[in-house]
């Protein structure tokens, strides 16, 4: 079964390592088929990398170098000026984004972990219905709650910018975090929790001393996932912040479509800078990152 609500445990290992590779039962196919496979894979690789090539070379071009006739070539002289300019424009927003993403990811993960535990191992009547109602929160278009949100934020006086965004990312992150943790806890043997209960541990005791310590792998997945999706969010950012008090997506959009509209080199260096943290996460912790994606890449 690989519906949205079930794939996390199995897929994590499936995409990370190949459990069945090397088994003799797998046929590798005829040579012709293999050449065809390589041709498809390599052609796709080049196509996928085209935008990356463009970002990279343009970010090192001086203004005069960026003429239409030279767009696909290397810079005539490589310059770091665009990177310096983009860094100057984006660094305050980068710091703000870290200040937003870290608490948002931690809080929503903790809530998700408690919910997941309860919904899989400490169930109450109609827990399944409640779970489905929580899941629906993952799919709703945030446009459908935006107007009352805008008014609420004014009414309760949460400062625009990072504080409101933390609140929103925590709240709307709960469904996906709950889903991932629930799927994980479903794989934890019931006996482990039962024995703690028999020993007289209450729910909180059980949660903190038995469940939490074995949740580390899931926490890694969920934290990375929340980090990435909050980092990349633009919809909430555009409603609840400005380029001057918002996260890096806002600052980048302002850089690319505002002041620097005609200077592609700076915007492209900016795009690379704004993507570095999530790319690093992806490169260093790709396995877990994929786990998060599989469990439901459904915020956006």
């Amino acid at each position: 079964m690989a519906t949205v609500t079930t794939p996390a445990p199995e897929t994590q290992q499936v995409t990370g390592t190949r459990p069945s590779s090397g088994k003799p039962s797998r046929r590798t196919g005829s040579p012709g088929w293999r050449i065809f496979r390589y041709a498809v894979l390599l052609a796709s690789l080049l196509l996928v990398l085209i935008p990356v090539y463009v970002l990279f070379v343009t970010s090192f071009k001086g203004i005069g170098d960026a003429s239409p006739s030279r767009t696909w070539f290397f810079p005539q002289t490589w310059t770091g000026q665009n990177w310096a300019d983009a860094w100057e424009a984006l660094s305050p927003a980068l710091m703000r984004t870290f200040a937003m993403v870290i608490p948002a990811a931690v809080l929503s993960s903790l809530l998700g972990s408690m919910n997941g535990f309860v919904l899989s191992r400490w169930r109450f009547p109609h827990a399944n219905l409640v779970f489905t109602l929580i899941l629906f929160g993952m799919f709703i278009p945030y446009q459908a709650v935006m107007i009352p949100l805008v008014q609420l934020m004014i009414d309760i006086n949460v400062p625009n910018g990072i504080p409101s965004l933390i609140l929103l990312h925590v709240v709307y992150g709960i469904p996906i975090c709950t889903l991932i943790f629930r799927n994980y806890y479903e794989t934890v043997p019931m006996e482990l929790i039962e024995s703690a209960r028999v020993d007289g541990a209450g729910m909180l005791r059980t949660y903190f001393s038995v469940v939490l310590p074995i949740s580390i792998p899931s926490f890694v997945v969920v934290l990375l996932w929340q980090f990435t999706s909050a980092w990349n969010d633009f919809l909430f950012a555009v409603f609840f912040s400005t380029a001057n008090n918002g996260p890096v997506t806002m600052a980048l959009n302002n850089l690319a479509n505002g002041a620097m509209l005609s200077n592609y080199g700076v915007s492209m260096a900016g795009a690379l800078i704004a993507s570095l943290p999530t790319l690093l996460v992806y490169i260093l912790l790709g396995r877990y990152f994929v786990g998060g994606l599989m469990a439901g890449s459904v915020k956006g």
Binding site: V40, V54, Q143, A144, L293
Partner: protein
């Protein structure tokens, strides 16, 4: 009583989350709906200086009758169909080609998947440039590449075309999410037990028959999840359009952009109405799926 004591603590533990989601998801959907039934079209009404009246469903009927909004809906349909087809076909082919062991698999997989780690705003920076509509001497981006490689007939006006401009936005969307669909399908392929294939081979099935009658049918749950995930992302598309074409471009307008545009001029009633329309569209796709999923869970 003892039964209540056994589940009550669990319910208490998740009650903060339930409360938050109850308010921020279901409560606010209700508030949005109420807002959409009013005549709150001006800043004075939004700030409470002018009275607000109840107008029933007239905002909806007027929106749905207006050619501008019909254009948005039409764009949404075109975009969703192409985005879905593109990611599903490409993602499936990549997974199929990668399914059996091949050298360099890890590299291909990682590269195909990496665009997913980047925000739409950042990728929008480079795609805006790649999809530059200039032709001839001024051609840059893909138009320039076509010119240089003798594919000049492919040059076109991309997202600025009023009828099919939205198709140009589907290109980066497909670029960004095909790898994700690949990961889903790859997990699906590898979740199929080897015994099943062996059994079919023993029964004398050819490789083609094996795929047609054994492997592909097993992948339908994966295809369904991919359809739902990509489909609901597509219906909510906002970031990419904002960063490539920005909100004022008529050619690439979709409901999510309308919602934002109404909100920026304090036309909260219409803004909320568009949000509710989007919610209904998404719910039509997602609710049957969640229902099906909940039933599958019940059956275990």
């Amino acid at each position: 009583m003892t039964r209540v004591r056994s589940w009550l603590p669990g319910l208490l533990l998740i009650s903060p989350s339930l409360l938050l989601l109850g308010v921020f998801v279901y409560g606010f959907i209700g508030l949005s709906f109420r807002e959409s039934l009013t005549d709150k079209h001006t800043a004075a009404q939004a700030t409470g200086r002018d009275p607000v009246g109840f107008v029933g469903f007239s905002n909806y009927t007027e929106l749905l009758a207006s050619p501008a909004f019909q254009h948005s809906l039409r764009n949404l349909v075109i975009f969703t169909v192409v985005f879905l087809l593109g990611t599903l076909v490409i993602g499936f082919c990549w997974a199929w080609v990668l399914e059996r062991p091949i050298k360099g698999e890890g590299i291909f997989r990682s590269v195909y998947l990496f665009p997913m780690a980047v925000s739409f705003v950042a990728s929008g920076v480079v795609w805006k440039w790649l999809l530059n509509s200039n032709v001839g001497e001024q051609a840059s981006g893909l138009n320039r590449l076509f010119q240089m490689t003798g594919l000049g007939f492919l040059q076109n006006e991309w997202w600025t075309n009023p009828r099919y401009g939205i198709l140009a936005i589907a290109l980066p969307a497909i670029w960004q999410l095909s790898g994700y669909v690949m990961a889903l399908f790859l997990a699906g392929f590898r979740g199929i037990p080897d015994e099943l294939r062996e059994a079919a081979r023993v029964d004398g099935a050819s490789e083609m028959q094996l795929y047609r009658h054994v492997v592909f049918p097993q992948l339908s749950p994966v295809a369904l999840s991919a359809l739902i995930i990509i489909g609901h992302m597509s219906l909510k598309s906002f970031d990419l359009i904002m960063s490539i074409a920005n909100q004022s471009a008529y050619s690439t307008k979709v409901p999510a952009i309308d919602m934002y545009n109404f909100a920026t001029v304090y036309d909260y009633a219409n803004s909320a109405a568009v949000g509710v329309i989007l919610l209904v569209i998404v719910a039509l796709a997602v609710v049957p799926y969640l229902w099906y999923d909940a039933r599958a869970r019940k059956r275990g």
